[in-house]
């Protein structure tokens, strides 16, 4: 399958590990990624705060540059993904906006017809275009005994995601298929604070501390993310949070494509291991020397026969 690829500015540098690992995993899966020629920054959340039409035009230039023979673009960065999707959807819903965007694009000899390109997050592409069985079939070295929790952040799943917007479950399923011990993180769709570190460090550290404090209780070997902003905030600012709150968190923050690559038997260096600030060496150590036996969970005690009856759980899902 062929996809237009929009790496975005973060993946060029600070999140190079995400770019490298995604490309390698895509290759194993037989996905052909065609990088959008001369793509530009999507404007993150900043341009939309200043001026609306240039913000849309900036994003639309990338959609216009998607080669004619491709009808979908994959973006690993959640902010990029959401901007591409939002621009396409709003242009389709508001023809007046579409014509103003196209009038602007014409100044650069470009044009974009809304609906031509479907914008997709890398996580959605992998979990929608491949079944869990397909993915498991590529696993050469299962991540046995490695305790992982997924952390999605916000716009990966909200407001236009493909999973539950509050309690997503896709990444957990993927990690399980890779053989890891999956721990559910109840704050997995909470916000990492985005660019708050640049606006008000105190508030940003509070938000990060809340996430790290609760993740630490799970005793995980690493948190697994699908967004460069989440990775950056939780990884690069973990030390700041520690010195601010007198804590001692050491939670490695990895990209889901890095752990996929590991299970697929790809060399950790090539997957960008070592680029994280909070070292993931512990994960690699466990990976190289998996525990002999999966630790057996003690069986839950059966209910006392004389206890009062419990209410029946709701059927058909509450939400």
């Amino acid at each position: 399958m062929r996809y237009a690829y929009y790496p975005g500015c973060s993946l060029e540098r600070n999140a190079a590990a995400y770019d490298e690992s995604f490309r390698l995993v895509a290759e194993v899966l037989g996905m052909e990624l065609v990088e959008i020629p001369d793509w530009n920054c999507c404007g993150a959340t900043e341009y939309f705060s200043l001026d609306l039409l240039p913000a849309y035009a900036l994003v639309a230039r990338n959609l216009a540059l998607v080669p004619e023979d491709l009808d979908q673009v994959v973006a690993p960065c959640s902010a990029c993904y959401y901007n591409l999707l939002k621009t396409d959807k709003n242009m389709a819903a508001y023809p007046k906006l579409a014509s103003a965007v196209n009038e602007s694009l014409a100044a650069g000899k470009l044009h974009y017809t809304p609906g031509r390109v479907r914008s997709r997050h890398a996580l959605d592409v992998i979990l929608e275009d491949f079944s869990l069985e397909d993915l498991a079939a590529h696993v050469e070295k299962p991540l046995r005994g490695i305790r992982l929790a997924a952390y999605y952040g916000c716009v990966t799943v909200r407001p236009m995601g493909h999973d539950d917007p509050e309690y997503p479950i896709r990444m957990e399923r993927l990690l399980k298929a890779l053989g890891a011990t999956v721990v559910e993180f109840s704050l997995r769709a909470n916000c990492c604070g985005g660019h708050m570190t640049q606006l008000d460090a105190e508030t940003a550290y509070e938000m990060l501390h809340y996430l790290l404090r609760n993740a630490a209780k799970l005793d995980v070997d690493a948190l697994v993310t699908a967004c460069p902003m989440c990775q950056l905030n939780l990884d690069a600012y973990q030390g700041q949070v520690n010195s601010h709150f007198g804590t001692d968190f050491h939670i490695p923050i990895l990209y889901f494509t890095q752990v996929m690559g590991l299970a697929f038997g790809i060399d950790p260096d090539a997957l960008g291991f070592g680029q994280e600030i909070v070292s993931a060496e512990r994960v690699l150590e466990k990976f190289r020397n998996p525990p002999e036996e999966e630790e057996k969970k003690p069986r839950r005690k059966r209910r006392d026969k004389d206890a009062l009856p419990m209410p029946e759980p709701l059927s058909g899902g509450g939400r």
Partner: protein, 184 residues
């Protein structure tokens, strides 16, 4: 405050797609209760909507509420009235800039970032805007330096974004878009 000005401010806020729904706010407080930056805000989202309804233009636009919105979309998906709250927060940012009510250090972060895009077509790392830090937080920057150093030694920090080839046409597109302007 006259009836007329009250309506004008609400009208100004609701011009964005779906913005009209703001008129159906029932003040339930779900938004404020969901907001991760609520405690740092001068007014919670619910309060800000009450102030908008009351036509308190200046109080609203001078507040820090929307600048502290981190775009997490919790409020938007939870609002029982399906009000596009996050988009309204963006709209308030734009209105505050237009009205000249804003804190330089905050909007300048956005402006520095946008300035990079207009110069290079690509940006610095959003969360590590070095230029911005050095300009507005010299002391904080010193405290940040181990972080910066860590990023640099791991090859994760650029001091200048890459320049795209089509920077001229991109500038022409942005110029045209600014010229067209308008409310969306």
């Amino acid at each position: 405050m006259t009836e007329e000005t009250q309506h004008t401010f609400l009208d100004e806020v609701t011009t964005i797609p779906g913005g009209e729904r703001l008129r159906t706010c029932i003040q339930c407080g779900t938004c404020g209760g969901s907001c991760p930056s609520g405690p740092a805000m001068d007014y919670t989202p619910r309060e800000i909507f009450a102030l908008i309804m009351a036509g308190e233009r200046e109080r609203v636009l001078k507040s820090n509420t929307f600048w502290f919105c981190v775009s997490c979309y919790y409020c938007t998906i939870r609002c029982p009235q399906e009000i596009p709250i996050t988009d309204i927060m963006y709209q308030l940012k734009r209105l505050a800039i237009k009205a000249g009510y804003y804190r330089a250090s905050i909007t300048n972060f956005s402006e520095t970032f946008v300035g990079q895009i207009e110069t290079y077509g690509r940006s610095f790392e959003l969360g590590l805007a070095t230029a911005h830090y050095l300009r507005y937080h010299p002391i904080e920057s010193v405290r940040m330096s181990p972080l910066m150093l860590g990023m640099v030694t791991r090859g994760r920090m650029a001091f200048r974004p890459k320049r795209i080839r089509g920077i001229r046409p991109l500038r022409a597109i942005l110029r045209k878009a600014k010229e067209l302007g308008g409310e969306w």
